[in-house]
Symmetry: C2
């Protein structure tokens, strides 16, 4: 997605050769017009897979998932939680994921009320690095007996192998900006 | 806002007389059509205050802030963070808030890159209870030298005093569904 690649080049900051900081429009400040364009692009790619629900994880995935929902006819969005609030008294599906940027392990949780065996789920996240969050989200859908119809991230760092890992379990993965390499502060898209 | 009040009555669950669980449409699953309607209502109330930026806090505030941004001509949204990610290397404004539902204390952070003295900030959150998060967000704007032009929450629990606390420091507070009382599982709107 050209517009997104340009935004990454113009405002993104590389931290070493592995971490990309996009706080200007995706992870701290949000460019909502760009998010709407991203939502339209997600609809273009995944409409044929007929999802009936979008699953993401707090916090940065939420804005993208909401934009995609709108573009796809207001599909319900469910966001997995990383902490267990006092209001979460129901049974929930749980899966562990290690955050690449934070270096911490989280248990992702979705209440059993919001995923079920008839669901055709499109999973959306801000980043795809090693695939930890993506694999955990797939696992939550599988626990519910549902079907993952696809996975997309706004930004994929291909060299970190997450997409390959997810394709190996049969998931359609198509991200919007795919970075082949980050070296000495220079980003190369695929 | 009638539509929101009906949704709360139809799908919300009271936990004791103080906590309202709205996971069906706001805090876990998201009703994006309703969020867009909420965004339009926020625009109707606060357009006259001419905000140039929206400030919220992760995670549940993000979806509402994005909807309001769209309705208000794509204002930039900034969401305060509750944890400090490894990519947050810049100086940031910090303020402490105690989460009413989680019973924990958080430091809310916004990078100094995203708030400044010329900002006219509309603050948006999912809930207004005792006003902890709202007051902390006001403090962040004040630290930057900016102006808070208003505060809105999708749901205000008036009996917990947060709105009064914020009005006492001169903030225009107008929430979308104002609960006067929760008793024995029954919700009374103002």
């Amino acid at each position: 997605m050209k517009l997104l690649e340009e935004k990454i080049l113009n405002t993104g900051k590389c931290i070493g050769d592995d971490i990309l900081k996009v706080d200007m429009f995706l992870n701290h400040q949000l460019d909502v017009k760009l998010l709407d364009d991203i939502g339209e692009e997600i609809n273009r790619i995944f409409a044929e897979d007929k999802p009936n629900k979008i699953l993401t994880v707090e916090a940065s995935g939420i804005a993208i998932a909401v934009a995609a929902s709108r573009a796809m006819g207001y599909l319900p969005v469910v966001f997995a939680k990383k902490t267990k609030p006092s209001t979460m008294i129901d049974d929930s599906y749980c899966a562990e994921a290690i955050s690449f940027t934070k270096g911490t392990s989280s248990i992702l949780r979705v209440s059993k009320d919001f995923l079920n065996k008839d669901d055709r789920v499109l999973i959306i996240d801000d980043f795809l690095a090693k695939g930890e969050a993506g694999m955990a989200l797939c696992d939550l859908v599988k626990q519910a007996g549902g079907t993952v119809v696809g996975f997309t991230a706004a930004i994929e760092k291909e060299h970190q192998g997450g997409a390959e890992r997810m394709r190996n379990i049969g998931i359609k993965v198509q991200s919007l900006a795919v970075i082949a390499e980050m070296r000495d502060g220079k980003i190369t898209f695929k």
